[in-house]
């Protein structure tokens, strides 16, 4: 009940300062819009090239920066000396191959012939890639076990 009596006069006298309220609203929204677009821009810039191909890494030789490489595992290239955790394998984009050195846990689908591999790490001058983390990119086709024959 008391709310009503308070609201009435304020809405009446609001006609004058309403323009300042409006400009304040516009300023707030502009700031918000700029912040949002800046956020979008920076987010995209870092994510724009989520990974490079093997060929791009070998030709560009990205030095002293963390990059991701995408490629297929070269069949039978995976070697690991028994008792040690360091593994070596090759990734290929079809034409170029790159030697990977990795010390860590291998994900479930790493050896699956349908998987692509995304390796996060650093490229070294001598032509090897030191992997920090491995991600497996799965095919976006899903099929039951029976129909899979190709």
């Amino acid at each position: 009940m008391s709310d009503e009596s308070h609201i009435e006069p304020t809405t009446m006298q609001n006609s004058e300062p309403q323009s300042t309220a409006k400009t304040r609203l516009i300023i707030a929204l502009t700031v918000l819009g700029i912040a949002l677009s800046y956020f979008l821009f920076t987010a995209f810039q870092s994510a724009q090239v989520y990974y490079y191909t093997v060929g791009e890494v070998v030709t560009n030789k990205p030095h002293a920066e963390l990059v991701r490489v995408n490629g297929n595992l070269v069949a039978d290239s995976f070697t690991r000396i028994s008792g040690e955790t360091e593994a070596r394998f090759e990734l290929t984009d079809g034409s170029t191959k790159l030697l990977m050195i990795y010390d860590g846990i291998i994900p479930d689908l790493f050896f699956n012939p349908h998987s692509e591999i995304v390796a996060e790490g650093q490229y070294y001058e001598e032509g090897t890639f030191h992997v920090d983390d491995i991600l497996v990119k799965c095919p976006s086709k899903y099929t039951g076990e029976v129909t899979e024959s190709t």
Binding site: Y50, D108, L109, C138, S140
Partner: protein, 234 residues
């Protein structure tokens, strides 16, 4: 409860039970991913429907700014709240699926990053709403934020087309590759999608009822105040 409520809830129940039967009994286990691929049936509908509230918000917020009718504001607010629920669940189920398949819970991939921004936009919209008390101002403010924020959904949709990503391509909808899915899997995802779509629609409708209840309280208060005013002036 109204008859139409009962019909809607019955339909949701039937669709959900059929979806569960298909997901756990009928569909084949994926040859590459094993049983974790069945997360697909809940993750994909959640993620796809997360992109619908921006469309609703864009239309209703524009209508609100033109017509200034509170019902459009109510619909925009309700769809954002349900949108926040759906994006949250899509992010969580996606993360649980990513761990056994990609090997990580999260990665800063374009699809994932734009989707996270969408989640933040929903959260921001609701926070801004909760800070503004005056109904008219709140509705106007929300409408402008809603229109600006809904544009971000386009980035999520286009992310997998424009940038290199670890996220699988679309397997349903107009941009999907042909024969990406086994027929049984296709039926499973269709039924699951219908079930979650019904739930999505019903939740938004139910949420708008809270708005109309609040409005009803407002008009009752006005009536009471009016009577009290008349009595005291006699």
């Amino acid at each position: 409860m109204l008859l139409q409520n009962r019909i809607m809830l019955g339909l949701i129940l039937i669709a959900m039970m059929s979806a569960l039967y298909l997901i756990f009994i009928m569909v084949p286990t994926d040859v590459n991913l094993g049983v974790s691929q069945r997360i697909f049936y809940i993750h994909v509908p959640l993620a796809v429907l997360s992109l619908i509230p921006p469309i609703i918000v864009f239309i209703t917020s524009t209508l609100y700014l033109v017509r200034r009718s509170p019902q459009w504001d109510a619909l925009a607010h309700s769809s954002v709240e349900v949108g926040l629920l759906f994006t949250t669940l899509a992010l969580v189920t996606g993360s649980i699926w990513a761990r056994p398949t990609w090997g990580v819970w999260w990665t800063w991939d374009p699809v994932l990053t734009t989707f996270l921004i969408l989640w933040l936009v929903y959260l921001g919209y609701l926070l801004i709403r909760s800070y503004t008390v005056e109904p008219d101002k709140r509705a106007r403010f929300s409408a402008i934020v809603g229109i600006l924020g809904s544009i971000n959904a386009l980035a999520v949709y286009l992310a997998s087309e424009l940038w290199r990503t670890i996220h699988p391509d679309k397997v349903i909808g107009p941009a999907a590759e042909e024969n990406a899915l086994d027929p049984a899997i296709q039926l499973g995802i269709l039924v699951s999608f219908i079930a979650i779509l019904l739930l999505f629609a019903y939740t938004i409708i139910f949420r708008t009822r809270l708005h109309s209840a609040v409005n009803q309280i407002g008009s009752l208060r006005d009536q009471i105040d009016d009577l009290v005013y008349r009595i005291s002036n006699k």
